[in-house]
């Protein structure tokens, strides 16, 4: 039986955190749930503990951002001997029923990393504008140039990793634009990445983090970061 850890990064998620934890717990009770509280200003940590259904809450002393936050989870997973970790965002945009799909890809050995993609199939689940689709295409082409693997959704945080990837990412987790950079970093170091289509909920309240006017600027920054990741020398040492 594989030891599985669900990493839930949370920053000011008091509204969603208990619901997210209950959903995960109801889905499968064998999974260990780890909440990483990225120095929230609200009572995210308290609420997570109060559910009584989680393995641990890690409270970071100050805000590290999503990269440093998730990396803490990888360190925990490495030190506690987990075989597989799955990142599941604390804001409730991921579907607990779809976790199995990602885990299966990793458990079967088909992939070192499985990514839940919003764009790998033509569904209407995630409304996207023409501009957005163009952006997605550009990313897909750009990362294919760098790592020769087809990835459609670089910004998805819904991912499962095997032990090899856990050990690698515990030491080398990027912090600027972690999701796309991790794809490149892993691809360059010979990890096999597979995608599977997953539905994602629209953000509840608030607006997209990337306004249309800033889209091209964002893309250039991310592509630069991806390129930088790719020119770093291969870091993985076989143990």
């Amino acid at each position: 039986m594989k030891k599985i850890l669900i990493i839930v990064p949370a920053f000011n998620e008091a509204e969603n955190i208990s619901r997210v934890i209950h959903r995960l717990y109801d889905e499968n009770r064998d999974w260990d749930i780890l909440v990483i509280n990225d120095a929230s200003e609200d009572n995210t940590s308290r609420l997570a503990r109060d559910t009584g259904k989680i393995t641990a809450v890690i409270d970071l002393p100050f805000n590290l951002g999503i990269g440093g936050c998730v990396q803490t989870g990888f360190r925990y997973a490495r030190d506690n001997g987990y075989d597989i970790t799955l990142q599941f965002d604390g804001d409730g945009q991921h579907n607990a029923e779809e976790i199995r799909k990602l885990l299966d890809l990793v458990i079967s050995g088909e992939a070192d990393v499985a990514i839940g993609s919003r764009f790998s199939e033509k569904h209407d689940g995630f409304k996207s504008s023409v501009y957005r689709r163009i952006g997605i295409r550009i990313f897909e082409w750009f990362s294919f140039m760098l790592i020769r693997q087809r990835i459609t959704d670089h910004t998805s945080g819904f991912r499962a990793y095997n032990r090899k990837a856990i050990k690698f990412l515990a030491d080398y987790y990027p912090s600027d634009y972690p999701e796309p950079e991790v794809v490149i970093l892993l691809g360059r170091n010979g990890f096999r990445i597979r995608e599977t289509f997953t539905q994602m909920h629209e953000r509840q309240g608030g607006v997209s983090s990337i306004p249309l006017s800033k889209g091209p600027y964002y893309m250039i920054k991310v592509m630069l970061a991806m390129f930088m990741s790719s020119i770093r020398s291969k870091t993985y040492r076989n143990e």
């Binding site: 990483i36 641990a56 970071l60 100050f62 590290l64 990396q71 803490t72 360190r75 925990y76």
Partner: protein, 149 residues
Amino acid sequence: MNKEVSLIAQNIQTTQYIAIAVSLGLFLYILYLVRKKKIKEEYSLLWLFSSIVFIFFSIWRDGLEYFAKLVGIAYPPAALFLILMLAIFLILIEFSIIISRHSEETKILAQEIALLKNRIEMSESGKKAQNTIRKDDLGDVEPVDEPVG
């Protein structure tokens, strides 16, 4: 005409004195800071090195003129600015390197502290669990049929 030339020459002389005084002052100030441990030795090297270069060129003006000619600068003091800017660039790049290293180290520290806090929390609650009465602790306690009091 002659008077004017000599006036300029005198001005250049004054400028040189100022340049020597300033770069010497800079050098001594850095030394002082290192001595007082306000700057660590490893971070002072680039400062000391560049202030020595400034002193060197402000004393040996022919050297500056030679250098200016070498890189094709018509006005020798402009060459001094070039050297100055290069030195500042180098120092700033070194700062960026140090800042990046520190932020990486701070991040790792924060993560390790958080993980350790969790371990302490776990072992404390584990101890509590051990402190609660276990079956074998009750070996020499007479069972009470009715609640006392």
